[in-house]
């Protein structure tokens, strides 16, 4: 995986061209995406909206390199992800992508610190450096002093903060957030959104977030709406700076 070809320097961070995704085959086939073109530049905060079944989750999975498109090309930093093997995509996620899920997906009965260390373990970071980085990441999400609490001992908002710390600890290019506030009350949700925004502005991490909530989408710089497997509309968000 050569990420520094001359071509890649000038290309956008994420570029989808004519992406389609078909599940099943024959008459029972489901066309989840029907030709999506989308470009996301470095440092953007994009909210993806749309009703259930509109293809936004499928698109998210493809963007997150968890899934491959049936047709079309997806270039991440100029590299065609479609040509990568399962393990190569795993390495790409490990090195460039952070994930935040609706259900937090923390390892149960495992301390916050150990949860945050997890991606660093896969990166082969030595223990001492790992502890330091994980502590810093927890501090950055405002959980200093909670390092040794397990998820069961943390509130929903705190758990999501741990998850964000886990995503941010590798200093990713892109943070993929799948309804990060879906399981939280609105006050906590807004706190989480403020946290994500601060990472976006202060650290320049690109954020792609799926959400149902128009209020939360308002935090983004750009809102992309999906409908029936296609991008229906794009509009600037509240934080749009033109």
């Amino acid at each position: 995986m050569n990420m520094t070809t001359p071509e890649s320097i000038n290309s956008p961070l994420i570029r989808l061209e004519g992406i389609t995704k078909v599940y099943g085959s024959g008459p029972a086939a489901v066309h989840a995406l029907k030709g999506v073109d989308l470009t996301i530049d470095k440092g953007e905060f994009v909210a993806v909206m749309g009703p259930s079944g509109s293809g936004k989750s499928t698109c998210m999975n493809i963007l997150g390199c968890l899934d491959t498109p049936t047709a079309g090309t997806y270039r991440f930093k100029g590299v065609d992800v479609g040509g990568l093997s399962r393990d190569q995509r795993a390495l790409l996620r490990r090195n460039y992508l952070g994930f935040v899920f609706q259900g937090f997906n923390l390892l149960s009965r495992t301390s916050a610190l150990e949860n945050v260390e997890l991606p660093l373990i896969y990166r082969g970071v030595p223990a001492r450096e790992r502890h330091a980085k994980a502590r810093d990441a927890l501090k950055a999400v405002g959980l200093e002093g909670w390092e040794f609490h397990t998820p069961a001992e943390l509130s929903g908002g705190q758990q999501q903060r741990v998850a964000i710390a886990r995503a941010m600890v590798i200093e990713p290019e892109v943070l993929m957030a799948d309804e990060p506030t879906g399981n939280l009350d609105s006050v906590t949700g807004r706190e989480i959104m403020d946290l994500l925004c601060s990472f976006n502005t202060e650290r320049g991490v690109t954020i792609v977030m799926v959400t149902h909530d128009a209020g939360m989408a308002g935090y983004a710089g750009r809102i992309v709406r999906f409908l029936d497997g296609l991008i229906d509309s794009e509009e600037p968000g509240r934080r749009h700076v033109s």
């Binding site: 994930f99 009965r109 997890l118």
Partner: protein, 403 residues
């Protein structure tokens, strides 16, 4: 990375102590059973070997043959040995430490109002040499006592206790049937033989006394021969057979009318019997190890299903297929190895206790301990592979969506 994975596995095990314990219980029991069986079996083998060598190691027994011959199946006893046969062996065969002619029969030993039924053994002092049997007190027979067949005797420990209790039997007289005998010595206790006989239950008299004054014949029932150290009992046996065939005029091509039995042979027969038993018990125990392995696979499959979301998270974070496979495989191997370690400890403990209860020596066999450990680790590897592969091949999207 491997080390990290082992730490992760240990963390996963620690997170669910009870289930981990139940998972490895099968392995623990299996390994413990193997270790206990094999260790006790080795102890029993050792016991048999020790018992037989207490009978007298590198000893040969020469006995006249007996069998059924002729059309009517008449029982035929071959001609008895005489004292001259023993003397001939002593004279003509090299490499002997001692040659003891033996003639015994059961009889009553009486002292005062005490009465004990025992075996009266007529032999020479060589008998004690052959059987490697020291005296507790007193002395052996003198040359003149042996030659003239005097009425003296040496008591086994059991007889001494039964007839005299705490009193000193030396110098006292006991009656063997109608013969009054003076006690000149008491033998050290040898205890039970591996066949359950009380070896100390005997009265020993000079062989001529036995022949002339008790049995009333000149027969020698058996000749015990012990080889000097380093002399092959196999070669001795051939020499004795040749000499006896000559003396007993057994013509060429005819079967021997006597037997020469080698104690070494009996040792190896008996120990091989206990070995076979040990192997059988060990095999039964090994089956329980297999069952333990299936238990591990079962729980690992449940664990993989239960931790689907965790696996999804790991895959999303960037774990490669091989890393997830390794994680679960190592988890299974660590679990089963822990089971192996517990099992070894438990097995050795049980074997030590069992050895004490059964009165056999505790023989530590490092080979079987290593084998059991390696086997239990391999069980984890083999039975953990299928669940681990299932985890590694999961689709991260499906896994993340799993409730």
């Amino acid at each position: 990375m491997i080390w990290e994975t082992i730490i992760l596995a240990l963390r996963a095990i620690r997170r669910n102590v009870l289930r981990s314990f139940l998972t490895i219980l099968g392995i623990v029991i299996g390994v413990a059973a193997v270790i206990t069986m094999v260790t006790l079996g080795d102890g029993a083998t050792e016991q048999v070997r020790a018992d037989i060598s207490s009978l007298g190691s590198n000893m040969l027994q020469v006995r006249p043959g007996q069998g059924f011959r002729g059309p009517g199946g008449v029982r035929v006893f071959a001609e008895r040995f005489k004292l001259s046969d023993a003397q001939a062996i002593e004279r003509e065969i090299a490499g002997l430490k001692a040659v003891a002619p033996l003639s015994d029969q059961s009889g009553q030993a009486i002292s005062g109002n005490r009465n004990w039924s025992t075996t009266v053994t007529g032999s020479t002092n060589d008998y004690l040499t052959v059987r490697n049997w020291p005296l507790e007190s007193g002395r052996v027979f003198t040359e003149s006592e042996l030659n003239s067949g005097r009425a003296v005797c040496i008591l086994g420990a059991t007889i001494a206790r039964e007839l005299f209790g705490d009193q000193d039997p030396l110098g006292a007289f006991i009656r063997l049937d109608r013969l009054s005998c003076q006690v000149v010595g008491v033998l050290a206790s040898k205890g039970q033989s591996s066949f359950g006989q009380d070896q100390d239950d005997l009265v020993m008299v000079p062989i001529r006394t036995m022949q002339r004054r008790i049995a009333g014949n000149t027969d020698v029932k058996a000749i015990l021969v012990s080889a000097m150290d380093g002399v092959s009992t196999e070669a001795l046996r051939e020499d004795i057979e040749r000499l006896m065939r000559e003396r007993r005029r057994v013509s060429e091509g005819q079967d021997d009318d006597f037997h020469v039995r080698d104690m070494q042979e009996i040792v190896s027969t008996l120990t091989s019997t206990t070995r076979v038993l040990t192997a059988l018990l060990g095999a039964v125990a090994a089956v329980s190890l297999l069952v333990g392995g299936i238990g591990i696979m079962n729980i690992m499959l449940v664990s993989v299903t239960e931790r689907t979301r965790e696996i999804g998270t790991r895959l999303a974070i960037g774990a490669r297929e091989g890393e997830v496979l390794m994680q679960f495989l190592i988890e299974a191997v660590v679990l089963s190895s822990l089971g192996g370690l517990f099992g070894i400890a438990l097995g050795l403990g049980a074997a030590a206790l069992g050895a004490r209860l059964l009165g056999v020596p505790f023989v530590f066999n490092p080979g079987i301990v290593i084998l059991a450990f390696v086997f239990s680790a391999s069980v984890g590897m083999i039975f953990g592979f299928f669940p681990a592969r299932r985890a590694a091949r999961m689709d991260p999207i499906e896994a993340l969506r799993h409730e």
